[in-house]
């Protein structure tokens, strides 16, 4: 019956949205509390100006002046790193689409019910996409509450920055779903997907640090570059990047479903 797996997945995992979203939001509040006032931010930006440009670039800032604003500081200190945590959740969620239940033999029972493999995957992917969105919204809620009590901040930018984690998270989810469908073994899928998240981050980091060399090409194959990291707060939404991340995520979902549709299960 349509929708049953979707709702069961949501029912079973909605608390995760609170725990993960709350955890990420609390980290944001911690960073806000470490951000005393605008004057100090300006001093901090002046200090960063004395650093070689590649250090700033490596941390995702093109201009030290970005760091002189609360939004810029949050972009640098919060959004740069929270994507890695969201990536970790997306990997876990992607493994739950098929790899975990296949590894445990649960799929044998689930797929003896009158549902197609495609339906199973689509409903789970949709459910986990919703949970990822909920995590982002909950984390924004915490962050916004923290901002209200600490330092005046553009809430619109903060909300957009939070939502900006969604396309990259969906790309990571899509990658993990594809790998889980392809390699069958949960631990192998976990290793490959975790590698994708971490290596993507470092490709972007190294590529930015060496923006004048050929190594810069690494940023083109890193999901993290399209995410934009801390720069987002000054550049705003780059719709081209959002489209690329969503398109890649969709292609990986479709490829995962196609691979899973064709192969033996549970061996």
């Amino acid at each position: 019956m349509r929708g049953v797996i979707f709702w069961q997945t949501l029912r079973h995992h909605w608390r995760q949205a609170l725990y993960w979203g709350g955890g990420i939001g609390l980290l944001g509040i911690y960073i806000l509390l470490a951000l005393p006032n605008v004057d100090m931010l300006e001093q901090y930006a002046q200090l960063m100006e004395t650093m070689p440009p590649l250090v700033l670039q490596a941390f995702g800032a093109t201009d030290a002046a970005q760091l002189a604003t609360p939004e810029g500081f949050i972009g640098f200190g919060y959004f740069s790193y929270m994507m890695l945590i969201m990536g970790a959740y997306a990997v876990g969620a992607g493994l739950n689409v098929t790899a975990v239940e296949e590894d445990r033999g649960i799929l044998d029972v689930l797929l003896s019910a009158p549902i197609s493999r495609t339906q199973l995957m689509i409903e789970k992917i949709l459910a986990y996409s919703v949970i990822i969105l909920l995590i982002i919204l909950v984390s924004f809620g915490f962050l916004a509450a923290g901002a209200v009590f600490s330092i005046p901040m553009d809430m619109g930018k903060l909300f957009a920055g939070s939502l900006n984690m969604l396309p990259a998270s969906l790309t990571v989810l899509g990658f993990t779903v594809f790998v889980g469908a392809w390699v069958r073994v949960r631990t192998t899928a976990l290793a490959i997907s975790a590698g994708f998240v971490v290596v993507g981050y470092f490709f972007d980091f190294i590529g930015r640090a060496a923006s004048e060399s050929v190594i810069n090409v690494l940023t083109k194959i890193s999901y993290y570059s399209y995410y934009g990291g801390g720069q987002f707060m000054s550049t705003g939404v780059v719709w081209g990047n959002v489209a690329i991340l969503i398109a890649v995520g969709l292609i990986l979902f479709v490829a995962g479903v196609a691979v899973f549709q064709r192969r033996d299960i549970g061996l």
Binding site: H12, S112, A113, D264
Partner: protein, 311 residues
């Protein structure tokens, strides 16, 4: 296809990574309304056959159909009418049995909660506990409820009674006979031959991926040999009976106990032991195990368990 055929397998072959086929050119028909026992030792290919029927794995060669529908192309349609119990039931550890039944029941639709409750009562199964707390036997009971709850036209059960105590085994047998009486068809795999003997109409014997025979249980058990165990008062040598017409597989269980397989009349054996003092004669009709072993080359009785892993 014959009108009465419910499951039909034609030249069904499955080869995994290595070159040895797990299932080799299987041709088998299971008829509507029968209880079909699918026998073989571990690794014979029973579970592979079941997984092919459920479209969990795909055949290397050949095809299978259920209800006249192709198991791959019409898999979803077929699974609406199937109840399945896997050999090892793995489900969500943190959910209670009731939550699992509700979830899988909703996925199927049309499950009668009163019938689920009735099944749980008959199997003495408490549905309120979390999956991880259940013993192997209780997991088996839950698996049976999940397989039976929607009253499917076909039950596919992989080693259904393993882990069930004798009382529950009886309940299971009753449930299967009731299913048959309701017009349902049962395809069950087993290596416990007594359960098959108790409820099955026909039996297929599988070895190393090849079907050895398909017979009615009645016909299989109607073979002309018995196991005879004679207890003498004094010490005797196996040579006392080993040359007797119809006597084979003689073994000395003790200094004064001889076991043998006897084919044909008793008279030559009785004449051969006439000069000795006989304390007891024990005669066993051939069980399905004995018959099963005749398909595997007729190893001596005292080697059976080792050779076949039968329980």
């Amino acid at each position: 296809m014959a009108n009465n055929a419910l499951i039909q397998m034609e030249n069904l072959t499955k080869v995994y990574g290595d070159a040895t086929p797990a299932l080799d050119s299987l041709n088998l028909t299971v008829n509507r309304g029968e209880i079909f026992g699918y026998l073989g030792p571990n690794g014979a290919g029973k579970t592979t056959t079941i997984r092919l029927l459920l479209d969990l794995i795909r055949p290397t060669q050949g095809r299978a159909s259920i209800f006249g529908l192709d198991v791959k192309a019409d898999s979803v349609e077929i699974r609406k009418r199937i109840g399945f119990l896997p050999g090892e039931l793995n489900l969500w550890d943190r959910l209670t049995a009731r939550e699992i039944v509700n979830y899988l029941g909703n996925l199927r639709g049309g499950v009668d909660n009163a019938y689920v409750k009735q099944l749980a009562e008959r199997l003495s199964f408490d549905m309120s506990k979390r999956m991880r707390t259940y013993s192997t036997g209780n997991k088996r009971k839950l698996g049976l409820i999940l397989a039976l709850m929607h009253k499917p036209d076909l039950l596919i059960l992989d080693e259904p009674s393993s882990g069930l105590d004798p009382l529950m085994q009886q309940t299971f047998n009753q449930l299967m006979l009731e299913a048959k009486a309701n017009g349902q068809t049962v395809f069950l795999s087993s290596h416990v031959l007594n359960e098959v003997q108790a409820i099955c109409d026909r039996v297929g014997i599988l070895r190393a991926g090849k079907l050895q025979a398909v017979e009615t249980v009645e016909r299989l058990t109607h073979v002309d040999f018995r196991r005879v165990t004679i207890t003498f008062r004094d010490k005797v040598a196996p040579s006392l009976v080993s040359g007797v017409t119809g006597v084979t597989s003689v073994s000395a269980d003790n200094a004064n106990v001889l076991s043998m397989q006897l084919q044909g009349d008793f008279d030559p054996l009785l004449k051969a032991i006439n000069s000795t003092y006989v304390q007891d004669i024990h005669i066993e009709e051939p069980t399905l195990e004995d018959i099963f072993l005749t398909f595997y080359g007729g190893q001596p009785a005292n080697h059976r368990e080792k050779a076949t892993g039968l329980t």
